[in-house]
């Protein structure tokens, strides 16, 4: 369901991307685009290549063929640092939080591209370093308020239950104030209430900050409710692309999920 925000021009274009690992073809000639301010879902049976697609977009994997265009810049090879500096943030299927640190510290790491002081200034802890730390602490506290995790800000993340860890990971990505948000199964392993909370957060992020969101999700209800458009992958290929209702009725999609051989 959309809320009246204006969906703009394509901000991300994936063009003819193919990715293999040795003999395994993870992605084959996949092309689609994502428009600014929209919520785009990528769905498909297990092993379809969805996570690999996200990894290509933010530079963790490099495709053998094809390009990724973000904000007008076309690249064959993206590296993670470039992607992050351009405003792409993501969460991971298996939580990639920094276990040795507290919630607050984890989210603060998300601000690293916005921090300017060097290590000498930080060691001396005078003036600029101090001010910067407090400035960013303020921003991070806003994220903490937004995600309603104030009570656990000093807890080491390793001690948190799964659902809260996912929320903290969302917070770390949010702290970077991204323009494109890649979410890899944000609702996995959650109960109904947690899912509702997570949906609310995702919608709020899209609403309040206008962040473009690409999300991988298995829960069809969530996909149909949240997304503006859907891409369906199966065995590394794109088999459907369009509005949720169109895709739901597409025969190829139904076959893929039912496991009909093709």
């Amino acid at each position: 369901m959309s809320s009246g925000r204006k969906i703009g021009e394509p901000i991300l274009v994936v063009d003819d991307v193919s990715l293999s690992f040795g003999g395994v073809r993870a992605l084959q000639n996949v092309s689609f685009d994502v428009c600014e301010h929209e919520i785009r879902a990528i769905i498909g049976p297990n092993g379809a290549g969805k996570s690999s697609m996200l990894n290509v977009i933010n530079g963790v994997y490099h495709p053998q063929i094809g390009t990724v265009t973000f904000k007008g810049e076309t690249r064959h090879h993206v590296d993670p640092h470039y992607a992050a500096s351009q405003g792409i943030a993501r969460t991971f299927q298996n939580i990639a939080l920094f276990r040795g640190m507290t919630v607050l510290d984890n989210i603060m790491t998300g601000r690293n591209l916005k921090m300017r002081t060097n290590f000498l200034q930080q060691a001396l802890w005078v003036g600029p370093a101090r001010r910067e730390e407090m400035e960013h602490r303020l921003k991070v506290e806003e994220v903490i308020d937004f995600l309603e995790i104030q009570h656990i800000r000093k807890t080491p993340v390793g001690r948190l239950p799964y659902g809260l860890q996912k929320r903290v990971e969302l917070g770390r990505a949010l702290a970077a104030e991204p323009e494109l948000f890649l979410l890899d199964e944000p609702m996995a392993g959650m109960n109904t209430e947690e899912k509702q909370d997570m949906c609310r957060f995702i919608l709020d992020v899209n609403d309040q900050f206008g962040t473009t969101i690409v999300l991988i999700e298995h829960d069809m209800g969530v996909v149909m409710d949240l997304s503006d458009r859907v891409v369906v992958l199966d065995y590394g290929r794109k088999i459907a692309d369009g509005k949720p209702d169109e895709v739901r009725g597409d025969q190829a999609v139904i076959d893929a999920y039912l496991g009909v051989a093709h």
Partner: protein, 299 residues
């Protein structure tokens, strides 16, 4: 270019490399079966050698002393598994590695506490003299002892390879090395397997200890030989028996050659760091070694 001299140095180096491989084999065994990098292998070699030589000096028969030391090493292996590894079963590999560093110190102190700290000589009956046929007919000096060591290593490697590939226990060991949980799930008795592995590693340590002790004498410095096995493992990969041999040969040969041909220009003493720098350069090109398995990080 004096070819005979070159061949002599090369052969000497290769054979010295075989000695390194003997120590490296112990590492590979334990790593293959339990994923633990046993830094204490050097300490085990020292302990074995010292125990054997002290028993012999106290009048015990050679073969009985051998069996007795073997029993001690097996007991030691089981004790290590129970006291050190079992409590640390779920810890990250780096913790286990550091525990084996601690274990090295314990073994060194214990060996010397029990048997004293004087160096001992070790006689195996094979003289460290050139093979007559070769030295007379081809003017190349290759030590009989070195050749014997190479033979022993060869037999050991063949036996181990057979063990891993053909026997049920060997298969179980490989399963455990791959995935502990999965091995447990199919009913492989993890604890027993580990005890077996450490016992076998103890046996390998004993053989290595005997060879090194006969060559260099049994003394504290023996523990540092184990450090030299590390570059061997890097070249050969931590999980490959064949790699341990090939790696050892490469390290031994290059070390000797560097020492003899480059050494005089830089004041000698190259062997203290050359194998490590070589390993380092190698790692930059191929982080998983010649025979190692490539590690892919799934995110």
């Amino acid at each position: 270019m004096n070819w005979q001299f070159f061949l002599e140095v090369l052969a000497g180096g290769l054979l010295a490399g075989v000695m390194y491989s003997l120590v490296a084999l112990g590492f590979v065994l334990i790593y293959k079966a339990s994923g633990v990098f046993n830094f204490a292998q050097g300490g085990m070699v020292f302990f074995a050698a010292l125990t054997f030589v002290s028993l012999v000096e106290r009048g015990m028969n050679f073969w009985i002393a051998l069996l007795a030391t073997l029993a001690v090493m097996i007991g030691l292996g089981i004790a290590i598994e129970r006291a050190v590894l079992r409590p640390l079963v779920n810890q990250p590999p780096i913790t286990l590695f550091m525990a084996t560093i601690g274990l090295t110190f314990v073994l060194e102190g214990l060996s010397q506490l029990i048997w004293g700290s004087q160096p001992h000589g070790l006689e195996l009956g094979i003289p460290d003299e050139p093979i007559e046929w070769l030295s007379q007919n081809a003017s190349i000096n290759i030590s009989q002892f070195d050749l014997f060591a190479a033979l022993v290593a060869g037999i050991l490697v063949a036996a181990l390879a057979l063990f891993f590939q053909k026997t049920r226990i060997g298969r179980a060991l490989r399963a455990v090395a791959d995935d502990h949980q999965a091995a447990l799930a199919v009913g492989i008795p993890l604890r027993q397997i580990w005890a077996i592995v450490w016992a076998v590693a103890g046996f390998v340590a004993l053989v290595a200890g005997l060879m090194w002790g006969a060559r260099n004498g049994v003394q504290y410095a023996l523990t540092f030989i184990a450090l030299k096995a590390l570059p061997v493992l890097i070249l050969g990969g931590f999980e490959s028996v064949a790699g341990a041999i090939v790696g050892g040969l490469i390290i031994g040969a290059s070390e000797k050659l560097a020492e003899v041909y480059v050494g005089p220009f830089v004041g000698g003493g190259l062997e203290s760091w050359f194998p490590y720098v070589l390993a380092l350069l190698f790692l930059l090109v191929r982080p998983e070694g010649l025979f190692g398995e490539k590690h892919i990080d799934r995110v």
